[in-house]
């Protein structure tokens, strides 16, 4: 099974190459894309099942080198779960994009770039090597640059420029951090680094940790490094924004969780807690100030990143379990909200709240499709957001972090306000009359494909709530893996010994 792990990266990248060859045949491109992502999804499910059955990570040593100098691919519980949900999300959004059939999706470069993005995300989730993590980031960033500026429209170029520059600075920071880690420890393998870092001088270790935190924090858009996000995401085509919102910042969060729990356990938690509180509040307040659906949702991304950093900062196994669950809940929830926005924008031509109204009259289904993930995002029981937030809050209370818990609750309330603003502006009110007197009808009737993809996405989010019991147990096992010192190294190197 171990030999199959690199396929999570190789399948989409091969698909991208084939897709480029078929640049003139859109239908072939679509089929290649769908098949590659479906295969990736099947493979990730198989890997997760395998990990769960053996209670051990699936490991591949590329080229047979030992983990100390070679690249390893490691799929443990955290990676496995994220791979499954990432491939499922990308597949559904692809179906949405194909059904929408706009100019962006017809570009010959859309499908290759989309697959390269999938490859980068998969590689980031499954690599066991710090430098390879950097390469995976670059692969997914490069694809995201292309998707963001696909048609070179003025707005896209303007915000794309900021996005590209910010992310190249992030790359430089990450690269220097990795260089310094190598200089200090002589290894980049995540299995060997914990032991090597523990021997270092605490000051040096703090320096390395802060550099990595800043680099990954920029990627994950935590306060004060979030400002690029609400500008960059809304200008992309809706399906692209949906994938970015669902997955890109979460890759940063994954990197934060991985490095923080594995390399620097129990260090500088206070910094993380302060950052988390500020991210939650600033993101939520920023969302209220906006008057465009995409911009409100973009600030919401920032706010919910704060919740994950909060769990990471609290750091107890219970908090990490809640963080992982919240991370899993965020991906389908955010994506489905952006897909609903995509339907609205496709139908009305705008996402500005002052030009929308009365959508609930015209399509009750669409309103429900928006309301379900929105309530989940705000943390209403019995949705998955509630389960995640409950876990975070209880673990915070257990550790005596009352101030942060209060901030998180206020942040949830503010999130509800901004989502209510979308509801009031877009769904309630009287529908605009069209010139011939009849009300415009049937938003979803003409967009069955898009509606189905959105509905399945929403259903995926609901499944997380329905299956919260077993899923939360899985997250708790993941947290035990993550917080047990030496567990990761033991999993990687056990395989190495077996190979010899």
């Amino acid at each position: 099974m171990g030999h199959l792990v690199p396929l999570t990266f190789a399948l989409p990248i091969l698909g991208a190459a084939l897709s480029l060859l078929a640049a003139r045949h859109q239908r072939v491109q679509r089929i290649i894309n769908l098949v590659s992502l479906a295969a990736g999804l099947a493979l990730s499910i198989a890997l997760l099942v395998q990990v769960e059955r053996d209670d051990a990570a699936v490991v591949a040593h590329i080229g047979g080198w030992s983990s100390r100098i070679g690249i390893t691919y490691v799929v443990d519980r955290l990676s496995g779960m994220l791979l499954v949900i990432a491939f499922a999300t990308m597949l559904l959004v692809l179906v949405f994009a194909i059904a929408q059939d706009t100019g962006d999706e017809r570009s010959p470069y859309y499908h290759p770039a989309y697959l390269v993005l999938a490859a980068g995300i998969a590689a980031a989730f499954s690599t066991g090597d710090l430098f390879h993590l950097f390469v995976a980031f670059e692969v997914l960033l490069m694809a995201s640059y292309v998707l963001l500026t696909l048609n070179g429209r003025p707005g896209q170029v303007r915000s794309g420029t900021t996005y590209v520059i910010i992310n190249s600075i992030e790359s430089m920071l990450l690269l220097s951090a990795i260089g310094l880690v190598y200089a200090a420890t002589g290894t980049l393998s995540m299995a060997d680094l914990p032991a090597a870092l523990a021997e270092l001088d605490p000051g040096l270790r703090t320096g390395l940790q802060v550099l990595l935190l800043v680099a990954f924090g920029l990627k994950a858009a935590v306060f004060p490094l979030f400002f690029w996000l609400p500008d960059a995401y809304p200008t992309a085509p809706s399906p692209v924004t949906a994938v970015f919102a669902g997955l890109l910042t979460k890759v940063g969060v994954y990197a934060l969780i991985r490095t923080q729990t594995l390399l620097f356990p129990e260090e500088h938690r206070t910094l993380l807690l302060v950052v988390a509180g500020l991210t939650i509040i600033i993101g939520a307040i920023g969302a209220i100030a906006q008057d465009d659906i995409k911009r409100i949702l973009s600030f919401q991304i920032v706010s919910s990143i704060g919740f994950m950093v909060m769990g990471l900062g609290i750091g107890s196994p219970a908090a990490i379990a809640a963080t992982v669950f919240y991370l899993l809940h965020q991906i389908p929830t955010k994506t489905s909200l952006f897909l609903v926005e995509g339907v609205i924008e496709d139908s009305e031509g705008t996402g500005a709240l002052d030009r929308l109204g009365g959508l609930a009259h015209r399509s009750g289904t669409l309103a429900v499709l928006f309301a379900l993930p929105a309530l989940s995002l705000a943390g209403f029981p019995p949705f998955s957001g509630f389960v995640g937030k409950l876990g975070l809050v209880t673990s915070g209370v257990d550790r005596g972090q009352y101030a942060l818990v209060a901030v998180a609750l206020v942040g949830s309330l503010l999130a509800l306000v901004s989502l209510g603003k979308i509801w009031l502006g877009a769904f309630w009110g009287r529908a605009e009359e069209v010139p011939d007197g009849s009300e415009k009808k049937g938003i979803l009737r003409d967009r069955l494909g898009m509606a189905t993809a959105t509905a399945v996405m929403v259903a995926l989010g609901l499944t997380l709530a329905v299956a919260a019991g077993p899923l939360y147990a899985l997250c708790e096992r993941t947290a035990t893996d993550l917080t047990t010192p030496g567990r990761y190294a033991a999993q990687v190197q056990a395989d190495e010994r077996a190979d010899e």
């Binding site: 794309g160 420029t161 600075i169 690269l175 990795i178 200089a183 500008d231």
Partner: protein, 142 residues
């Protein structure tokens, strides 16, 4: 690591950062190149003292660490691709606007538009734009 090399890396970082603070894309791209070279040198220098033989011709025990060289090769390729993309973006920006400046984001522009002076000042030089922004934020506090 030798002292001149450390100094050189420091200078490259400083120059690169300074250039990236500018508004014009050309300078940012140049800054990115300079900064990238600084980072690459930093990684190379982690391989130990200069002058050690590579894998072939090594006497017992002493040879240059090949891992940083492999890392740097990858980093150079990635940096090259990024610069190419940035140049293409700058070119596209130039065909759209006739300049290659990075523009203010939407919230900044909205803030500038709120102040009465903002509309005229926004088109003027950089100092004027900054003034407009301070005025706007001052106006909001009132």
């Amino acid at each position: 690591m030798s002292v001149p090399l450390a100094l050189l890396i420091g200078v490259l970082f400083a120059c690169g950062t300074y250039l990236m603070m500018h508004r014009t894309m050309t300078r940012i791209i140049l800054g990115f190149g300079v900064l990238g070279n600084g980072v690459n040198l930093l990684i190379i220098s982690t391989g130990g003292l200069p002058g050690d033989p590579p894998i072939l011709g090594a006497e017992a025990g002493r040879l240059a660490d090949p891992v940083p060289q492999a890392l740097v090769l990858t980093a150079i390729v990635i940096g090259f691709a990024l610069q190419a993309f940035l140049l293409a973006l700058a070119w596209r920006n130039w065909t759209l606007d006739g300049n290659d400046e990075v523009e203010d984001d939407i919230s900044d522009r909205r803030l500038a538009e709120r102040s009465p002076a903002g509309l005229e000042d926004a088109t003027e030089d950089e100092a004027g734009r900054l003034d407009a922004r301070t005025e706007a934020s001052g106006g909001e506090a009132d």
